[in-house]
Amino acid sequence: MATDPKDNTTLQLLHFTLQMADNALINGHRLSEWCGHGPVLEQDIALSNIALDHIGQARSLYQYAASICNGINSENRQHLFASTSLNQKISKGEMIDEDDLAYLRDAWDFRNVLLVEQPNTDWAFTVARSFYFDSFNFLFLSVLQNSSDSTIAAIAEKSLKEVNYHLRWSSEWIIRLGDGTTESHQRIQDALNDRWCFTGELFQATDADVAMNAQGVGVDISMIKQQWLEQIQSVLNEATLSLPTGVWMQEGGKQTRHSEHLGYLLAEMQFMQRAYPHMQW
């Protein structure tokens, strides 16, 4: 589609931004599903807060992604996405915004990791998913706040304060459940083992990751893998849990190939805007 190397860099920046934005949105939506269902009121509110932090981060990133899209020349802009609703808008020459990116893209245009779209299942599975993702997100954003792209750097710096708290929350729950009762220990270990196969993808560099790292915009994610492992290991030690040993890793989310769960999630999340376009409340 884009032959000009400058255009290609723009496209990679768009994909890179969407990878992060989609992680934030999908993770945030998943956590928001606990609202009204938390095991105790205090944790219900805690999770809703964390969900809102993610939605806030997603908004900043989608706003940036939309401005990147709108800056691409009108011919190339037609080919950015494979979602009919969004393309109809683009082909009319209209500018797109954060809401269009969140609500008018189909699953095959989403670039989030498979980990964040996995269902909540129960408290242990939710904590395990958050623990893996928060640990990654914290290290990733710590490096990203030095990005040569000032918008990305600013979003990373702001998000990092929130993610610092998310990581504390999920790590403490890992310890509380692991070092709790026999049942809580077993169930959090099962959840950690089960979700482990989705962690490999966190450290798999896409074309966008490689290109943005080369530009000084992104992060060399292979570099933070060791730190991630050490951080996970030290929390698991304290929780008297063991690091899962599985070596087979599931992948595809970053390349827009998703598990069946994402379709259901989007169907619920996007329904209103698809059925009643531009509806506000």
């Binding site: 205090e42 509110i45 504390r168």
Partner: protein, 119 residues
Amino acid sequence: MKNIFHRYGDYGDREAAGGENTHHDTSNEWPLWEVFIRSKAGLDHKHAGSLHAADANMAIENARDVYTRRMEGVSIWVVESKYVHASDPADAEMLYEPANDKIYRHPTFYNLPDELKHM
């Protein structure tokens, strides 16, 4: 079926689904904590409410989530409710009524200069 609702769902779901109505046992519940929030530097911590938490760390974090998410505070104190000792409401007559007819205990009989605003 029962197991699912035991794992995930609102209070009451289990009963609504025909499950056993288990006796409410408080021995497994987290202890209650009183929360005090300082709204800005220099002011005192004011009682904001109470919440359940497993330990002091968790109580502070829960308090942050429950009581400061609309920027109500810059500092949090928590104390486990069982350590707060209260006066007995039955003693109210003895404790507070004697003050009723002793208005001379208020410093209201002085003429204050106009420049004094905050007395």
